[in-house]
């Protein structure tokens, strides 16, 4: 026994010695940028795209930066610890990339006033906490238009994650786009209550197809719904990243989140000492939303989609331009008026024509 104890003690002492070295020799001069992801970087959707943004930072700054990430961080009591760990490791800048990280980010930021925090999709800011998100709904309007042109049954299926404003806004934008082509277009929404669960997402897609939809779109992060669409011989849209390799015959286009430019500019600002707390909500015009290539489409449909994309990009057209009626028939905005950002950010109602009740 004594021998085992001695060996163990030796191992522990040895490891303690080797640990102290690298920990103390923290790299000076490099800007250290950390990321907290809610999913695995292999989700090929939301967290994957944020990780692409991280890689873009490495690409842009080379050995002037050092980046790291923690993936699969649950939006509960663990989030604050994961964020604080990065703060304590001497990171200059921390991106927390899911709504559920909002309060933990603000809490940790209050303890570390010299570190720059960037929180995606939230609404709480501080002197050292910026927020950013992108106007995904612009892409939703375009794919709504495409869906209405391509669908033969006049019904699309929508796999939705959680009834938060961002998701509801996407459903409404899709519906407005579809109605601009076919005023009687139908939309069936299934709530799966998860951002990433390929099994559940695929089941929802199968249920929707069995109910007669011939277009599938999704606000969840895995390629599973698109793969189901491909198997059943119908069409669908990718989500967050270009998912064409998962469904080369079925993907019509994909709304791609592009964080690269934003991330690079924010890191640059920290390096230059010009970083300020800001609230960024960019869309096609800011290159934060891009459309993947229009594929598997008749030429005229692809061309019209490109026209819509260009008019949103140039600012000539806003997807939420009136007249728009709520599901209950009341008028939201009149002819030619545009729904303001405040209403968009807190959207908790369907527009007219969406089937079913919004979970409240």
């Amino acid at each position: 026994m004594n021998r085992i104890a001695k060996i163990l003690a030796g191992v522990i002492a040895l490891s303690a010695l080797t640990l102290a070295g690298p920990a103390l020799a923290a790299s000076h001069g490099k800007t250290k940028v950390g990321f907290i992801y809610v999913g695995p970087i292999g989700d090929h959707g939301w967290s994957y795209q944020h990780n692409q943004g991280r890689l873009a930072i490495e690409e842009a700054f080379g050995d002037k930066v050092e980046t790291t990430y923690v993936e699969n961080v649950s939006e509960g009591p663990d989030a604050e610890r994961a964020i604080e760990r990065l703060a304590r490791e001497g990171f200059d800048m921390i991106f927390t990339t899911s709504f559920g990280f909002m309060n933990p980010t603000v809490k940790v930021a209050a303890k570390f006033p010299d570190i720059h925090f960037e929180h995606a999709t939230g609404y709480k800011r501080a002197d050292n906490v910026s927020t950013y998100s992108s106007r995904f709904y612009e892409g939703r309007y375009i794919i709504g238009q495409i869906a209405a042109k391509v669908s033969e049954t006049g019904t699309a299926g929508y796999i939705a994650s959680f009834p938060i404003p961002e998701v509801v806004r996407g459903i409404n934008a899709f519906m407005l786009g579809a109605q601009s082509v076919d005023p009687d277009f139908k939309l069936k929404v299934v709530w799966v209550n998860t951002w990433f669960d390929p099994g559940k997402e695929a089941d929802a897609a199968k249920a929707l197809i069995d109910q007669g939809v011939d277009i599938i779109t999704q606000h969840t992060d895995s390629p599973a719904p698109l793969q189901v669409a491909a198997e059943r011989g119908i069409k669908g849209f990718g989500q967050a990243s270009d998912m064409i390799r998962f469904a080369p015959e079925a993907q019509l286009t994909s709304i791609v989140d592009v964080w690269d430019a934003y991330y690079v500019s924010r890191v640059q600002a920290v390096m230059d000492g010009t970083w300020e707390s800001t609230d960024t909500w960019g869309g096609l015009d800011a290159d934060m939303v891009e459309m993947a290539a229009y594929t598997n489409l008749p030429d005229d449909v692809a061309a019209e989609a490109a026209v819509t994309q260009e008019s949103i990009h140039s600012g000539a057209f806003h997807p939420f331009t009136g007249p728009i009626y709520k599901q209950d028939g009341s008028l939201l905005v009149g002819e030619g008026e545009i729904v303001d950002d405040g209403t968009l950010l807190g959207m908790n109602f369907y527009v007219k024509g969406v089937d079913g009740d919004l979970p409240q």
């Binding site: 085992i4 080797t18 640990l19 920990a23 970087i41 509960g76 760990r85 304590r88 309060n103």
Partner: protein, 358 residues
């Protein structure tokens, strides 16, 4: 099969004591091989994983924060499991307790003072206990299998929480996002050290562990649990009531899970959210068995599991390995502990390949 597991005639107390150490040594050895194969210096890898979290005051506090709910729930479960009652639904009782206790800060806005937090604790424990009594009642009245009923009620509790934070308990100033308002200062679990996250839940858990150890070894009622668990027939002859024991065990384990739940939402989280537990109720099952259903063992096991989570995170940040590797380590640890435990009681015996002429 040329080998077969055979019960040992007698097992050595010495081995029982040191089998966890052997398990840890085996895990370190396997871990070293794993790190080496990933191109990471094994000594550095292992020290980041298992020693770094123990080296700063902050991460020691975080270790305590992570271990506290696991210990509280684990102790309650150990009482059930000793009595051969299989409560698998602590995760649901955790949520039920959190909901019951959160009623005050969320629905009684403006009520403050020194009684708010004690009321929340009492409601949390009552909520967890009542929720746990559902499978108890179903088992006593209908003979329903408590493994199934308690497990399925987890989803009921989780969806009820989900509904509340999206609906009636949603923060009116939260832009329709699914979160409750932040708890006011009188409704927050008191901290032990200002600025950290370690809260009074930890000393409470230690006191409960001591009480449970005393109760299980020094009281007649505690002895009854052992008898009912190991020999139900003997217990019946002795006049111990199985039904009373089912109610007692579920109520206690539910109350402790509920206590863990309200301490967690009022402490490290500070509000209700659609998800409030990273699976504490299920991890606590592992903790209970790793601690050999012994309250003091469970305190140690709670820390071991908590360390494996924190170490996994540290390894992601410092070594840049994926969280899958971190999970592999947790799996290895449990595998070796269980394997070593098995060999205390069992031994391999070589048996000849017998060709039976049937």
């Amino acid at each position: 099969m040329p080998f077969k597991l055979q019960r040992r005639e007698e097992h050595s107390a010495w081995m029982a004591l040191f089998s966890p150490l052997i398990a840890v040594a085996l895990m370190l050895a396997t871990g070293a091989v794993l790190f080496a194969s990933l191109g990471i210096d094994p000594v550095k890898g292992l020290s980041v994983y298992f020693l770094e979290p123990l080296q700063s005051a902050w991460s020691l506090q975080e270790l305590v924060v992570k271990a506290t709910p696991l210990i509280l729930i684990g102790i309650g479960l150990s009482i059930c499991y000793r009595a051969n009652i299989w409560n698998i639904g602590a995760e649901g009782q955790f949520v039920a307790g959190a909901l019951a206790g959160s009623y005050f800060p969320i629905m009684m806005v403006g009520w403050d003072g020194p009684f708010v937090f004690p009321a929340m604790i009492a409601a949390g424990m009552a909520g967890g206990a009542l929720f746990a009594l559902i499978p108890a009642a179903l088992k006593i009245r209908f003979g329903a299998n408590e493994i199934l009923t308690s497990l399925l009620l987890v989803y009921v509790a989780q969806f009820f929480l989900d509904w509340l934070v999206r609906g009636p308990w949603r923060d009116p100033e939260g832009f329709n996002f699914p979160e409750s308002r932040l708890f006011p200062s009188d409704a927050v679990t008191p901290l032990i050290i200002e600025g950290g996250r370690m809260h009074i839940g930890f000393p409470i858990a230690l006191i409960i562990a001591l009480l449970a150890a005393f109760y299980l070894t020094r009281t007649i009622h505690g002895f009854q649990i052992q008898v009912i668990g190991e020999s139900p027939r003997a217990a019946r002859f002795a006049g111990f009531s199985q039904s009373k024991m089912i109610i007692f065990a579920f109520a206690v384990s539910g109350a402790l899970a509920g206590l863990a739940g309200i301490l967690e939402v009022a402490g490290p989280i500070g509000q209700l959210r659609p998800v409030i537990s990273p699976g504490y109720g299920f991890t606590a099952i592992i903790v209970a068995f790793l601690g050999r259903l012994n309250p003091i063992g469970i305190v140690i096991a709670g820390f071991v599991l908590a360390l494996s989570y924190l170490g996994g995170e540290a390894a992601q940040v410092t070594l840049g390995i994926s969280d899958k590797i971190a999970r592999v380590f947790q799996g290895l640890l449990l595998f070796y502990v269980l394997a070593c435990d098995t060999f205390i009681v069992y031994t391999f015996r070589r048996v000849g390949v017998v060709r039976e002429a049937s």
